[in-house]
Amino acid sequence: MSSTMDPPIYYSRSEYIETDTGNKVSRRATIAGPQNIVLGGKTIISSGAIIRGDLRRTGPGHTVVIQLGRYCLIGEGCIMRPPYKTFRGAFNYYPMKIGDHVHIGAGSVIEAATIGNHVEIGKNCIIGKFTIIKDCAKIADNTVIPPNTVIPTFSRFAGSPGHFIEDLPESTQEMVEAQTKQYYTRFQPLDRQ
C-alpha cells in the first residue's frame, strides 16, 4: 500500500488558493473560463498548468467544459484542452470529463473526452483528442496516445503511438486510491518562518 513514511511535499501558502472543498489551485496556473470548470474537491492544480475552460461549445447557456473529480492532480505545466472537431461542417468543442483519483504527471497535454476513475497518466504524455480512458488504466511517462483511442480498464499503455503493454493487478483501484489520498495529505503548506 502507500508508504506511510513518505516525506511531505511542501508548497508555499502564498502560491496556492485553497477552496472550501479542499481544492488547491496554484496562482501560477492559467485557469481560463473558470465558470466552466468544475473541481470535485481535494484536487490539486499545480503551477504552470493551463486549463482551457474558455473553449466552450458554441451556443447559449451555461456549459461545463472541464469536469474534474476528487483527489485529482494536474501536474506542473500540464495543458488541459477540451477536444474539438468539425462535425457536419460545424466546428465545435466538446466537454472533457475526468473522474476521481486521477493523477496527471508534469508536462502532459490532455485532450481526452473521458478519463475514468483511478487513472494514472505519467509525465510528458500526449493524450489525443477524444481519447477515452477507462477506469484503473495507467499511461506510462512519455506516451503519445493518438486521437480517438480507447484505453480499456486495468491496462497499461506506453510508447508512441501508445500500445497495450500489460494488465494491471486486480488491486489497482485500492492502490491508486490510497496513493492519491496520500499525495493530498502529503501536499502541505509551508509558511512557518
Partner: protein, 567 residues
C-alpha cells in the same frame, strides 16, 4: 528505485524457505504484495505464476464490445466489427470518407463518424497510413470486418488453418472426453511454467489445448519421460491412428506464390531504393503467415480480443478472483488478494528522506527552517560501505483485529556459508538488527477521515512508544534506533539498523520472516467476499508466517570520495 519489500510465494520450490537473496533465483520467488492472492481454504499465498486462470469474458479493447465465447472461435479471437490496427504503427484505424481530411486551418481533422460519401477507407491518426494506398476501400462505413471477409477467407494462412482444423477435428472430438480430466490435472503445472506476465487467457487456453493428449502428438512430447506424459501415451496408444497431415501448398513452392521466398525477395531487395518500403520485424510479427517484406503488402489486422479472467487456487481450486461479467466494470464478485490478509510492509531509509518543495519559494522557506533537509546534492544516493544506517519498516494491518507481529532475519550467512570461505567473502557482508520481540499492530478501522493531517506529518522526534532513546531532527540515528518507533492507527513503525562491512558490495538485501498471530473467529478476514464459506471456528489465536525480501539499495564502495555525512 528506492528501497523495496517483496513477498514470497512458495509455489516455485518444495521448501517453504525462499532462496538466499543474493542468488539470481531469488528474484522469481518474490512479488509485490499487490500482485499476490490469498487462499482462505489453504491458508496460503498464491501468485500469478501458480494460480489457474480461466477466461470469464472476451471483449474488444477498442470498441469494448463483449464477444460471446461462441463467436470468439469463429472470429479467430479478433474483433469482428469495425476495429482494425494500422499495419504500419499498430495504432487503431478510424474510418473516414472520401472527403479530403485536410481542413482550411492546415490541421488534419479526421472525422470520427464520417457522414461523407463513399468510398470509405481506413485511416491512421498517428502515421497517416490509409487503406486506399493498398487498394482497400469500403462502400459503407459499418461492418468493415464483414466487408473484408472475402479477402481474409482467401488468404493462404486462413485456408491452411481451416485445413489443419479439419484434419484434427475428429481426433479432438474423440479425445476431448477422456482428456478433460487430464487437462484439469495438467493445468496448474502448465500455468506455472507459462510466462504469466504476458500470457493472455488465449495463451492459457492454448497451453491447455496443447497439454491435451492429441493422439500421435503426445509421443513426440519431450516431457513424455515424466510420469504424467507416460500416462498420456498409455491411454492414447489404442486409439492412435492418425493420417499424416499434408499442407495445402508445398513449402518449396511458396516462393512462387509471392508469399515470401528466395528469388522474389532478392529481386525486391536489389531494386530497393528506400529502406522505408521494407516492413520491419515488428510490423510483420503479428502475421501468422510468412508474408512479403514489402510495406505496401501489409494489410490492416482486426484487433485481437482481450479477456477478463477468473483465477483459482492451484491446490484447492477455490476461486480467488472472479470479475464482474461486464467488460468495463472494475468490480469483482470475488477478490481474495493478499493485501487484505497480510500486513503491508514499506521500508524507508530515513537518511535519504527529504521533504519535497514544489516551488522555489517553498524551497527557500524550507531552507530557513531546516537547511539540512533540502536535498542539496551532497547526500549520496545510497549506503556507503563501512557505515551503519538506520532503516524504518512501516507495517500496516489490513485486518479488523489487532495482530502481534514478530520479525526475524533469515541467517543466510550461517546456512549457506558451509561450502567454503570464498563463498562467504563474495557475499555482501552486512548485519541487520531488528527487534526480536513481538509487537502489536492495532486493527484496521476503515477511516481515512480520522487520520488527521498533523499526525501524518510528524517529524521524527515525537515518537511515543518503544525503545527510542533519542534521535536528531532529520532522522539520522545518533543513538540506538532499533525497536518500535511509533504506533499510529493500524500502522506500526519499526526501526532497524544495518551495519555494512568495509568490503561490502552489491545490494543490502535480506530475507525476513514475518510471523503474525491474530484472533481467528468468524469476523476475521472476511473482507474479500462472503462467498467463500468459512466453517465457524471457536475464537482462537492463529498464526501465519510468510517470507519477504527487503532491499535497502546498493552499497557504494569505499573507494568513492567520501561525502560529507554524519553518524
Amino acid at each position: 528505485m528506492g528501497p523495496s519489500v517483496q513477498y514470497h510465494c512458495p509455489c516455485l520450490s518444495t521448501s517453504p524457505v525462499p532462496p538466499p537473496p543474493h542468488l539470481p533465483s531469488s528474484l522469481h520467488h518474490f512479488h509485490p504484495l499487490h500482485n499476490l492472492f490469498f487462499c482462505e481454504e489453504c491458508d496460503a499465498v498464491r501468485c500469478n505464476r501458480c494460480v489457474a486462470v480461466e477466461v470469464s469474458t472476451y471483449y474488444c479493447p477498442n470498441c469494448l464490445f463483449e464477444v460471446p465465447s461462441a463467436s470468439v472461435r469463429a472470429e479467430k479471437n479478433r474483433c469482428a466489427r469495425n476495429c482494425f490496427s494500422c499495419p504500419n504503427c499498430r495504432n487503431t484505424l478510424s474510418v473516414v470518407s472520401s472527403d479530403p481530411p485536410e481542413t482550411g486551418d492546415g490541421r488534419s481533422t479526421a472525422p470520427l463518424n464520417s457522414s461523407g460519401e463513399p468510398p470509405f477507407f481506413l485511416y491512421c491518426n498517428h502515421c497517416r497510413w490509409d487503406s486506399a494506398e493498398i487498394g482497400i476501400t469500403f462502400e459503407k462505413p459499418t461492418g468493415l470486418a464483414a466487408q473484408l471477409q472475402k479477402y481474409e477467407d482467401s488468404a493462404p494462412d486462413s485456408l491452411e488453418f481451416d485445413r489443419l482444423k479439419d484434419h484434427f477435428e475428429p481426433f479432438l472430438r474423440a479425445s476431448s472426453l477422456s482428456s478433460s480430466m487430464a487437462v484439469h490435472a495438467a493445468l496448474p503445472g502448465s500455468a506455472a511454467h507459462s510466462h504469466h506476465l504476458h500470457s493472455t487467457s488465449i495463451t492459457a487456453a492454448a497451453s491447455a489445448a496443447l497439454a491435451r493428449d492429441i493422439p500421435g502428438v503426445a509421443k513426440y512430447n519431450p516431457l513424455s519421460r515424466s510420469a504424467s506424459g507416460r500416462a498420456h501415451r498409455d491411454r492414447t496408444a489404442n486409439k492412435d491412428e492418425m493420417p499424416e497431415y499434408k499442407g495445402r501448398v508445398e513449402i518449396a513452392s511458396v516462393g512462387l506464390l509471392g508469399g515470401g521466398g528466395g528469388d522474389v525477395e532478392v529481386d525486391f531487395m536489389r531494386r530497393l531504393r528506400d529502406v522505408q518500403s521494407v516492413a520491419s520485424v515488428e510490423q510483420r510479427w503479428g502475421n501468422s503467415w510468412a508474408g512479403t517484406l514489402q510495406v505496401k503488402d501489409l494489410k490492416p489486422l482486426r484487433i485481437p480480443l482481450h479477456s477478463k479472467r477468473s483465477k483459482r487456487c492451484p491446490a484447492c481450486t477455490h476461486i480467488l478472483i472472479k470479475p464482474e461479467q461486464k467488460a468495463q466494470s472494475v468490480r469483482y464478485k470475488i477478490k481474495l488478494v493478499a493485501a487484505n490478509y497480510l500486513p503491508a510492509i514499506t521500508v524507508a531509509l530515513p537518511h535519504l528522506q527529504k521533504p519535497i518543495a514544489t516551488s522555489d519559494a517553498a524551497k527557500r522557506t524550507l531552507m530557513k527552517i531546516s537547511p539540512q533537509s533540502i536535498d542539496d546534492g551532497t547526500t549520496p544516493p545510497g549506503l556507503i560501505a563501512g557505515k551503519t544506517y538506520p532503516f524504518h519498516l512501516a507495517l500496516t494491518n489490513p485486518l479488523y483485529d489487532p495482530i502481534q507481529v514478530r520479525l526475524s532475519v533469515q541467517r543466510v550467512h550461517v546456512t549457506a556459508a558451509t561450502p567454503g570461505v570464498g563463498e562467504k567473502a563474495r557475499r555482501p557482508p552486512f548485519a541487520i538488527s531488528l527487534p526480536t520481540s513481538p509487537f502489536p499492530i492495532a486493527a484496521f478501522a476503515e477511516a481515512w477521515e480520522y487520520e488527521d493531517d498533523e499526525d501524518m506529518m510528524v517529524d521524527d522526534d515525537d515518537f511515543g512508544a518503544g525503545g527510542v532513546k533519542g534521535r536528531d531532527k532529520d532522522g539520522r540515528g545518533k543513538a540506538k534506533t532499533v525497536g518500535v518507533l511509533e504506533r499510529r492507527a493500524n500502522v506500526t513503525l519499526i526501526g532497524g539498523e544495518v551495519i555494512i562491512g568495509k568490503e561490502a558490495r552489491g545490494n543490502v538485501k535480506f530475507n525476513m520472516l514475518v510471523t503474525y498471530t491474530y484472533r481467528s473467529d468468524d469476523s476475521t478476514p472476511s473482507e474479500g467476499d462472503g462467498d467463500v464459506p468459512k466453517s465457524s471456528k471457536p475464537p482462537e489465536v492463529k498464526s501465519f508466517a510468510f517470507y519477504t525480501v527487503v532491499d535497502l539499495g546498493p552499497i557504494i564502495p569505499r573507494e568513492e570520495p567520501r561525502m560529507e555525512t554524519d553518524a
